[in-house]
Structures are given as structure tokens and as C-alpha cells.
Amino acid sequence: MKILFDRIDEPGLNTLEVYERRGGYESLRKALRMTPEEVLSELEASNLRGRGGAGFQMGKKVSFLPHGAIEKYLVCNADESEPGTFKDRELMQKTPHMLIEGLVIASYAAGAGRSFIYIRGEYAQQADILDAALGEARAAGYIGERILGSEHSLSVVLHRGAGAYICGEETGLLDSLEGKRGNPRLKPPFPANQGLYQGPTLINNVETLSTVPAILRMGGAAYAKLGTETSTGTKLVSVSGHVQRPGNYEVELGIPSRELIYDLAGGPPQGRTVKCWFPGGSSSPVLTGADLDVPYDFDSMAKAGSMLGSGAIIVVDDSTPILDVALKTAKFYRHESCGKCTPCREGTNWTVTMLERIDRGEATPMDLDIMASVQDHIIGNCLCVLGDAMAMPIGSMIVKFRDEFEAHMEKRRVQAPEPLEV
């Protein structure tokens, strides 16, 4: 069943004309005939869990906003930068009006009068397409003052980032949107109470908002029948790395992971096997070839010791040393750490240093224990989860591939050109 990707390559789907011809903005009309509370109860009935990474129930998040005549903000997180993730990019590029329609409906349910779409600066082409679509939607009266004759008004500003992974973290995003360095904030207060400009703020991912029109069309209860009981609906999954047909696939949550990796994405190249895979972007603990039959949904992934995250599978085949994967991962987080919290700033740096030491033949197995303890000391000790996002996959690699790390260490030690000074 395709909800988001239904005939996604239809020429001109990015224009209002084609989108309307397919019934676009009918869900918005329907929503505006309902009360905001009724719209919210549909969202809650759908059990839709946020598609950005945390998997929090969207309807519940909307309901956390305070009521009353206070200025509220809706922010769409389009800063997709979790390594391996590229689903929002395809949505914004090919069907931007679906996002805009979902955004307006969500703002109605939340009572927000101002909204911002924070898109990563690298997505310049997608931002231009989205900008053009916003222009069309404005001209057609789908955004602006008194939308379609209702009492609801909404302004939308497209805000382009300038290259920083941390701005995908919701409070880092808010600081960046306020014109500052993208440093995460202490929580609580949570954005629902004090977010953008200290006002109540709802933050949702592109895919989450893009799903909202379908929920209104089908009804929340009907949507909840898709997928599993606790992971409802369909999900876009980005599959990349060592697979023959990398790309985005829309699947019902709960299908076997093997089906995604092998049947849809074609599996690793001929003669190769899956060594490990990240199920939810590079921040998720790695799973191995033995975990391929784990159902692809939020709870099953958590039970298997990992997470669904942003829905990005990165496959690594048996031709790649685990050290290379660990080093790439750690270097990324070292570069992207904002530097505000010590465990993350120092922990990412020392992890890279220790991995490099292994590769130079200067390490002993004890270094693996030290490295593992560094990971333990990062987790839960920072304002945001960027450090955890390195510590979880690296920690899982040390546990699952310890033998290989030790063999690598020994091989390099023997190869080392000069004896180590004691």
C-alpha cells in the first residue's frame, strides 16, 4: 500500500495543478469543516509516531501545547541529516504540496498561527521547489489570512540552514532558527511549553506532516489498522550502502527486515553477505546478519537492542573491516559535536583517537575496554543525544565485533615498523 509514494513520479506532481487534480487539499477542506479538537482526535486515533527519529506519538505531542489565545508556533524539521537518511528529500522534491497541506492541518489542530520550515542548506534544489510550491499555495489561499474562508490563519516561512547536523536536534534547530549557533538547550522546559522565541512550539518531521492529509482522508482509525498495533501506518525507509538497489521504499511497519534489504533493495552484491547493518541511521546500534528476520517496526527494533530511528538502513557487507565503519561513524560525530557538553566533545574526540591507535598497531585489548567505558560515560550525560548517537553504535560494534577488533589490533601491531617505546 502506497500512501506517501502513490504515483510519486507523476510528472508535475510538484505543481498545485496536478496535486489538486489528484484530490490535493481536499483533506484541508475537510479539516477546516471540523473543529480543531476533532482534527486532533483523528491524529490521536491514528497513533502516528513521529518519523524524525524519536518515534513519539504525534497526536500526543500536539495535545501537550497549552490552550488559550497565546501565540503558538509550528516548526517543520526538514533538516534531514542523519547519515543514511534521504526520504524527506524525495518527498519535498516530488510532492511538496502534501507537506504544505499536512502543515496547515497540523497548525489548525495545534492552534498555531505562524510556521517555519527549517530545511538543511544543502538541499538547495528541494528548497527552491518547495519555495515555488509555497508561492502557489499562498496565491490559492491555502496559506495566509483566513484560509479558505475559515477563522484559521497561518504564515509559513521557509528557512534554509547552512550545514550543521546538530540543527536537526529540535532545540538546536530552534536556536539556529533564532539566528544563533545551533547549540541544543537544556530540557525541560520542552519546546511544547517554551520553544521558539520562548513560545509554545510544535516540531514535526517532514514525513510526519506529509502523512497528515492521508490520515484525515482515511480517518485515524483506518490508518491505525496499517502496520502493527504500536507502530501504525506505512513508513519510508531509506536503504543504502552495500545493496544493489539503494533508494527509498514505502512499507507497512512490521515487515521482516530481510524483505527490505533483500527483496526490495536487492541485498549485497553477488557473493557477499551482510556483515552488519544500521537499522535507523548511523546513530542506531548495529545489528548483524543474524538479525535480518527482526520485524521492521519501533518496538521490535528496540527489543533487538537497536532503534528504528529515522528509518534509514545502512548495509555493510563482509568486505569491509568493522574498524573502517567505526572510524567513519566516530569521525562524523566528532565533526558535528557542537562542543557544549564535555562528555560529547571529549568523548567523540577520544573515540576517534583510540580507533586510530588501533589502526596504527599501538593499541592493546585493554583499549577496547577503555573505549567501551568512554561510550558508557557519554550516554545520558549531555544536553542532547548527539554523543549518545555515537556511543550507541560504537558500543554495539565493540560488543559484537570484539574478536575482529582484537585481530585487527594484533595484525597491525605485528606490521608496525618500529617497536613501541615503553
Binding site: 528557512h159 533564532e178 539566528g179 569521525k331
Partner: protein, 199 residues
């Protein structure tokens, strides 16, 4: 090769002898009229005009080529803030340049998925082929969000991939002559991988 250090100048001695720079005086700070109106338009979009810092710096960078002291001074003047507050912002983001760079930005994604598919070799080949040509700003970049076309690059904002090292000379020649870069390999032309998505 490691990515450039974001915190430029952290090890430079601080100038403690003079007072911190104040908000530039409009009377003595010339700002190109077009740049001024673009920044003012951005400021008008937000309930708090300081939100315009990123788009304003990006606009100034387009005029000056990088976030030079002069560019920062001009943005600070229009926005009515101190240069230091903007310098703090400009040094945080990878797409704002703190030193002069080549005109054409070629960002090669070297994150995990691209790297598994040969991005490190691609980056080395691009660096080598661009050589001393100062028209190019070739740099390794973290995940650009296009792992479906790995290994890939963003060439002046246009995504192309999957790239082989054999594509490198054509890519550079396309940029030099102003042709659309590797027209056949542009991401925007790519169909959805999902067989059920259909046109």
C-alpha cells in the same frame, strides 16, 4: 583527510588592548543597496529580526565570496547587531566560509554509505584533478542526504551521482564551461526506487 576545523582562530591570541567592536555606524559603513534590501526583506519575515542571521550571512557571502570581515561588518550594520555575534554564527556552520574559497563549491559526501561505495577514492581523484585551480572549492562533506546515488557530490548545489572516477574530468569541464553538470547523473532526474510507486 580530516574536515576543516570549525572553530577557526581558537588558538589565536585575543586582542585585549582594544575595545570590542560595537554595532557598525551606518554613516561610515557602505553596504551595497541590493544586499541591504535583501537582508531587510529577510528580517521582515520573522517576529524577531535576529532570526535573519543565517539568510543574511548567506546573502553577504554570495556578494563577497566568503564571510569576510567586510561582509560581516555590512550584515551587522543592517541588522543592528555587533560583528562578534555574527562571527560566532558564521564559524558554526559548514556552508559559511571563514576564508576565501574557490567560486565553485564541489562537496563530496564521504560519510558511511558513500564511503562504502568508493567516495574516498572519488574525493582523492577530484582533489587531484582540480589541482591548483583556484576556481574550485573541493571539500569532503558529511552526509549530504543522497545515499541512493552514492558516491555523490553536490556541485554548486546540484546533486550528481553515482559518480565514478572517470566522471571527474567531465564534471570539472562542465563547471568550467558553464554547462549543466553531468546532466545524465543529476539526482532530480532519478525515478523513485520503490517498484510500487509507479508514475
Amino acid at each position: 583527510m580530516s574536515a576543516p576545523d570549525r572553530s577557526r582562530g581558537w588558538d589565536l591570541p585575543a586582542d585585549l588592548a582594544s575595545d570590542p567592536a560595537t554595532i557598525p555606524d551606518p554613516a561610515t559603513t557602505p553596504v551595497p543597496a541590493e544586499l541591504r534590501s535583501e537582508i531587510e526583506a529577510h528580517m521582515a519575515l520573522y517576529p524577531d529580526s535576529s532570526s535573519a542571521a543565517l539568510p543574511a550571512l548567506e546573502a553577504a557571502q554570495r556578494v563577497h565570496g566568503w564571510c569576510s570581515p567586510e561582509a560581516i561588518e555590512q550584515v551587522a550594520c543592517v541588522m543592528g547587531v555587533t560583528p562578534a555575534s555574527l562571527d560566532a554564527v558564521a564559524t558554526f556552520y559548514d556552508m559559511l566560509y571563514n576564508e576565501p574559497v574557490g567560486e565553485h563549491a564541489i562537496f563530496v559526501c564521504t560519510n558511511i554509505s558513500c564511503s562504502l561505495c568508493g567516495a574516498d577514492e572519488l574525493y582523492a581523484a577530484l582533489l587531484d584533478a582540480a589541482g591548483e585551480d583556484t576556481a574550485f572549492n573541493v571539500r569532503a562533506f558529511e552526509c549530504l542526504g543522497a545515499c541512493d546515488i552514492a558516491p555523490m557530490a553536490s556541485v554548486d548545489g546540484v546533486y550528481v551521482g553515482p559518480l565514478a572516477t572517470a566522471d571527474v574530468p567531465v564534471l570539472l569541464e562542465d563547471v568550467r564551461t558553464g554547462r549543466p553538470v553531468l546532466a545524465e547523473k543529476q539526482l532530480l532526474r532519478r525515478a523513485c526506487a520503490d517498484p510500487g510507486a509507479g508514475a
